[in-house]
Amino acid sequence: MDSDYRLTERPGLGMATIMARKGIQPAVIGAVLGFLPPDGPERAADARLALIGTGPGTWLALAETPEADWVTQLANKLNGLASVSDQSGSYVVLRIAGSGARETLQRGVFIDLHPAVFRSGSAATTVIEHIGVVLWQLDDVPTFEIATFRSFASNIRHWFELAAAS
């Protein structure tokens, strides 16, 4: 197995759940945000904000360099269009990059990660060995990131250790 990959943690990200109000289409939200939120399990981003599709009309928003009250600002911007919940404390985000990243992740997730199926910009909410994860691919290195609930973080790190050992 190709186990050549680097695992790093991405602290300090701002995160929030955005849920569109009833009948509000992604394009309407996109008009406010300045880019179109993905209408499926994909990632779209501008320089400051990335949106990961996690469900119909639902996105996990990630801010690289969040200001202290960025969630409030976001909620105000989307007032009447979407509900916004701060999730900055909820997740730990790990970055997995390198030629062995895909094969390692495939050991854990039961969705097809073949480059023809899951590519740069793809995203999925799924499970690695009983641990819920949101997974997305950033580039063709390939680089992946996974967000996992903070309370489970030590378990997912342990899983990566085991996967690396075998």
Binding site: T17, R21, S88, S90, F152
Partner: protein
Amino acid sequence: MSRLSFGGLIDRAQPLNFTFDGMKHAGFAGDTLASALIANGVKLVGRSFKYHRPRGILTAGSEEPNALVTLRSGARAEPNTRATTVQLFEGLEAKSQNRWPTLSVDVMALNQVFAPILVAGFYYKTFMWPAKYWEKLYEPIIRRAAGLGQLSMEPDPDSYERAHGFCDLLVIGAGPSGLIAAVTAARAGLRVIIADGDWVLGGRLCSERHVINEAAAGKWVDDTVAELRATPNVTLLSRTQIFGAYDGCEYGALEQVSDHLGNIPPGKSRQRFWKIIAGRTILATGAIERPLVFGGNDKPGVMTASAAATYVNRFAAVPGRRAVVFTTTDSGWSAAEDLMSAGVQLAAVVDPRTDSQPPAAARLRQAGIEILSGAALTDVHGRTVRSVDVLLKDGSRRRISADLVLMSGGWNPSIGLGSNLGDRPVWSDLVHSFVLNTAPPGMKATGAAAGHFSLSGSLADGVRAAEETLRELGRTSAVAPAPLAGDEPSASSPPWYSRGHRSKAFVDFQNDVTDADVSLAAREGFVSIEHLKRYTTLGMATDQGKTSQLNGHAVLAAATGKSIAEAGTIMSRPPYLPVAIGALAGHHQNTAFRPERRTASHEWARERGATFVDAGLWKRAQWFAHPGERDWLQTVSREVSMTRSGVGICDVSTLGKIDVHGPDAGILLDRLYINMFSTLPVGRARYGVMLREDGFVMDDGTTARLGEDRFYVTTTTLNAAKIMQHIDYARQVLWPELDVQATSVTEQWSTYSVAGPLSRPLLQMLLPDLDLSNDSFAFMAAIELRWRNLPARLSRLSFSGELAYEISVPASHGEMLVRALFTAGDAFHAVPYGTEALGVMRIEKGHPAGNEINGQTTAADLAMGRMMSKKKDYIGRAMAERPALSDTNRPSLVGVRPLGGARLRAGAHLLPQGRDPLAANDQGYITSAAYSPSRGQWIGLALLQGGAARHGELVTVHDPVRGPDFAAEICDPVFVDPEGVRVRG
């Protein structure tokens, strides 16, 4: 009984040492344990299940029923391992099984003397008297005699891992048809996974002598495997057995990662459990040769003809010096030729058929081999084979000396995986066996598995299967024709068995089922093949009937005058081959069985000496012992007392938390809770109770209104996921017209309860700018604010009954907050308290929790009937009005306190005083109990018939599983501050 100096797929440059029952032997790289034993002249390998008869090696494959050994030793001991599939490694250690004291002298072989009594089903007819003797005498004897190998009883020291595969085409089996199908599909660009249980690919081409494209077949195999390995869209998995077909085109497979290594490198797993999703599947699993049923057919030295051919051709190991071949197939003749080429003397070839003989017959006759047509082998003599009796065409018998008997009774396509999903195989008169009629979605059988027993037919069929698959998937690439193979005979006769035998003739070798057992079962009415299986244990051994099923059915058919087609066959269930339980569990062992959820204060709590307790997957601090404290009770009592008299802090982050937002959020909550939420003012929180639709209480918690269209719902720790799902059901399925959004924020907020009369000044130190006075921040106030420039939430809630607050910050900063709280708390002698003290204080206040909200209680049972709104509909309202739920005699919540110093325990039942301990007098039970430092005694909550009306009554606490009865008084469930003064202080 020796090793040939030429040929085979063994590496004579790599000798390997191994032991069998402590005896040292040597083999070569490329050997199986079985081939190495044969090369070393070992004939006796194991003992059978029931009669403990000596057994040798019957086959050369995974269908082996006899040669089972315990591989390795100590904690790595692996009982019931088939010697025929174990790849030899340096230092291999194997032991025979099911014998005492030794393999050659087995006391239990005495069972054979009683064989006339130990017929099929004998135990159902006896051992009934005296009744007491079954568990004490008969059964222990039976249990000890049964079983095969022994588990080490030590924890499995190896690790296992999982993998997931996705492909357009899964090819199961890398024999000729599988290889050609895989390479054909791969050339057309399909994503292909091809898996084979063997470590050498090629299937029968490794075992038989064939020519493909005018060269030895091995060259074609090597070229094809090389091409597959070089194709990026192909995953080639050797040592990988597909063991089951499941719904949704899902296959389970086991890869033996390290089983062939003497020592497993640290960290490396022993086996890998694959789950494979396949668009299409080609079943190229070949066929298994049927033994023949005759007297003594189980003795060491009797083996299937194909096995003998495999041993000489693949392993250069010669299983005997002088052989009799007993065959009803043409392939048996080919095997005879293979053995002759290996220098084995052929005493005779016996074939009951008279109508046709393969070309090999003429060649053998020319070589001077005696051919006995229309004859049958009836009995084998010797402990291991010494001679055989042949019933000649003219009815006379002849004894022929030999040390090896080859038997060939036809071929059964290996279609087990094809019937895993319930497709029943059908009889084919063409191949005299069962074949797939229908197969699971996406699967097709090919080659010998589809009844194409000749090599050329098998290769052509493999190409056809691949072509068909490509067509189905819309690929139109041109397909190369099948390579040219030297053809060979493939005819066989229908299943056949010798009736003229005088000694026991075995149908199921491992389970010692004889033809007579099958006939007896038929006489007793067990004529359904399922009844036959269950009554005789036919096909229930570790080979799961691979060598026995069809012969058994043939004998049954003969006994009942039916055809085999009418008798039918049994559907195969996973796994196709036995799979280690450890492999199926993956790394979910020991403490890694389930993930462990930790709160943000975990590390801090550990530093403070916390003992942790499981709450679902969460680890929560149970208490914080101080040095010198006698026991947990002293610790917990201190935590309670200091909280009630000063201030205590408890991590309550594990509560479920849900943001419910949107214009219709209030309406949704009104429908979910028995009480009203749409009327809750912004900045306030309210306690709520939810019912299931059947009217029983589902969960409780507080909900705060943080904005006009923003509610913050909390649930109990254990129900967090269930309530999220419930809310989503309500808003997505029941009332999709509502504009309401819900998202779990359980992980977002680290929440600490700060409780006790000094909680206000303590908090004030953290929040100097906030007016915490009663007037501006009253009981049940709830606000958002910022702390250290972080978003934070503060509410004035109390589970303890004291003046108390809950403060939350993002979990990423939860540890910072708890440390800050205790830095500020130093001045107030703040104590951390755990779940136990939390529980004590809630019992003292009579608050119901999980022990009371157990899915069996109504709101009225828990004294919350008055919360049930009459002004609106809500989930569970209608069903809660059913007669039995509104019965006033239902057990309802009361307090209990023992007379004297007795200790109350939850789970104790309550009886009226002076009544006998009978079910008729059972009136309720204690749901929760604790030692109350505030009251200086044990107290409890209980559900008691007639409940509230019985305050002051004395009852008997009946807890026979733990101790004697004692008396207690029923009282109000609120033991501390019943007027609720403190909480509003």
